[in-house]
């Protein structure tokens, strides 16, 4: 019997099985941000165990509220900053160099095929796009990860989503993952790994694969995962070129982490996207999705383009295509947050920031802030936001606010119209 990629990664990292089906695995990367890590740091100090398992495998960033908005968030930043300094954590990203963790860390080449990654953040599943097992955890798991470099999980059971068909123009990875979540439901993949395969995924950029894996947790999944291929190698090449004689050799190495043809899956779902339309959520759960055309005329007060789901350069490029030469509606507040300084700079050099500015958008620094209603775009009671983020939970972007999740193209078109509408890129 063959094995899935997730099973192979577990087998290669096995430390202990304290109970049937529970596997303690060795971690290749422990990522930290300033919201969930300070409590772990304080607890380690309290226990007189203020140590880290491996300075090089811990990466830290201040991204959720940056610049600090008040004394409390300033204190959280300070705890993380002081900790990173006293433990000599070199990959610590503070203001000026910081960006959204799930965009910044891949951009720095910190995630490789076959890696095991945890972070005190549910969207850690994003990093599965590189053929890694990457799971969001709570602060206690994070604390043990920092101290011991291990974490406990159930041995992975995988649902394979085979994405095929003819990708319609103007439909994006965000629409695909919304449709997948719509099919699975918000707990359809609980305790499972979602493996995304098929010709549509093969043809995707790493950015799109990250968008896909990013929202795996919205169906309850432990990790999303894509199989490493030449696209993965190309993305990582600048970080690995000294380790391999050529890209082919790197690909051969990474191919050790791929699913066998006779691997056993919990479920295999054929997902044909040929007739997929741009989607939008309604209600307060990310599995409540409808075609955008069925939600036309829903007025919005704010449009937000950014986040670990859709704040990457290709997202900004698509939005800019729609916004070029246009003005957003007078009744809409447009906010765009390039997810990292690199993306910010690229967008500047490509003229994308000018398009956003000319259209009437506010451009913020890279931060998670608005997505979880902490800063930089919080909604008032009764307000409606079309957002490229990942959660439409009640109160998520501000108490009493309504969030409709969309792709960057739909968000841009909605900003211009003042109500939810399809982009001109979609010809359906």
């Amino acid at each position: 019997m063959g094995k899935t990629i997730a099973e192979k990664i577990f087998d290669a990292h096995h430390v202990d099985s304290p109970a049937e089906d529970i596997h303690v695995i060795r971690l290749d990367a422990v990522f930290c941000h300033e919201i969930t890590t300070p409590m772990a740091i304080n607890d380690l100090v309290r226990r007189n165990k203020d140590r880290v398992f491996d300075t090089n495998k811990i990466k830290a960033v201040i991204d959720h509220v940056t610049p600090a908005k008040d004394s409390k968030t300033a204190e959280q930043g300070k705890i993380l900053r002081d900790w990173a300094r006293r433990h000599n954590i070199l990959d610590f990203f503070d203001i000026g160099r910081n960006g959204i963790c799930h965009v910044l860390f891949p951009e720095k080449g910190f995630v490789r095929p076959g890696f095991t990654v945890i972070m005190g953040d549910s969207h850690t599943c994003t990093h599965g796009a590189f053929g890694a097992f990457a799971a969001g955890v709570g602060t206690t798991d994070l604390e043990v990860g920092i101290l011991k470099g291990v974490c406990a999980f159930h041995y992975p059971s995988t649902i394979k989503i085979n994405i095929s068909g003819q990708m319609p123009e103007g439909v994006f990875a965000k629409d695909i993952i919304l449709s997948v979540i719509g099919c699975l439901g918000v707990n359809g993949a609980t305790n499972k790994v979602l493996e995304f395969t098929g010709p549509i995924v093969d043809a995707m950029t790493m950015e799109s694969r990250m968008t896909l894996c990013n929202m795996a947790v919205e169906a309850g999944a432990t990790s999303g995962i894509c199989l490493p291929d030449m696209t993965t190698v190309e993305y990582l090449w600048e970080f690995i070129e000294n380790e391999y004689s050529d890209k082919k050799e790197a690909l051969d190495d990474f191919s050790g982490f791929s699913s066998d043809s006779d691997a056993r899956y919990d479920q295999v779902i054929e997902h044909d996207v040929s007739r997929l339309e741009p989607l939008v959520t309604f209600g307060y759960k990310p599995d409540q999705v409808k075609p955008v055309k069925e939600m036309e005329a829903i007025k919005v007060d704010q449009v937000y383009i950014g986040s670990c789901t859709n704040g990457r350069i290709e997202d900004l490029r698509v939005a800019a295509r729609e916004l070029a030469g246009q003005k957003i509606s007078n009744s809409v507040r447009g906010i765009v947050s390039p997810a990292t300084p690199k993306i910010y700079r690229q967008a500047m050099e490509e003229g994308i920031l000018k398009i956003f500015l000319d259209a009437g958008f506010c451009i913020t620094n890279p931060t998670c802030g608005a997505c979880l209603g902490m800063s930089n775009g919080v909604l008032a009671q009764g307000e409606v936001c079309a957002s490229t983020t990942n959660r439409n939970f009640n109160g998520r972007m501000g108490k009493g606010g309504m969030v409709h999740l969309v792709s960057p193209a739909t968000a841009a078109a909605t900003a211009i119209a003042g109500y939810i509408t399809n982009s001109s890129l979609f010809k359906g």
């Binding site: 005190g120 602060t139 406990a152 979880l372 009640n394 998520r396």
Partner: protein, 174 residues
Amino acid sequence: MKNFSGKVLFLDRNDINTDEIIPAKYLSEISKQALGPCLLEDIKLDGFRSRIDIQEKSVIITRTNFGCGSSREHAAWALEVNNINLVIAESFARIFRQNMFNCGMMAVELPAETMDRIFRDFADKETYLETYLEKNIFFITAEEHQLEVSFSISDFDRALVMTGGWVEYADSKY
């Protein structure tokens, strides 16, 4: 070991997420105690009065996929500082469930038919639940009515509860 018995708070809804259990605006707190008054502040549940209905409760009984969404352990901590160390549901989101046991708390799943029966017989009454961890039994009582419900948790989860959580367990072992 923590206390797992007491008065029951019923939350009759599926998919209660951690943003509802503790809204993100409180994630800037760096003490567990500060989370206490904000527990379930944003829950979408008709007629629910968060500060009043939580008072004196030590057990939550709810439906499916409790604790979905954000990984914030603040959700477990907000329960803990309100002396709620046990949540019983038909199912849990993975991270929330793990966070509970990691803190030496319990998230126990029961079959759908058992949950339906508990809701039908007890949800509208003042209900008390007693946990016998060594026997894997809950006694649920309201007025004259008592129901004995057996449950199971894995040996690993039990070890976490007995040792007080994952930090203690992992530190002694790895």
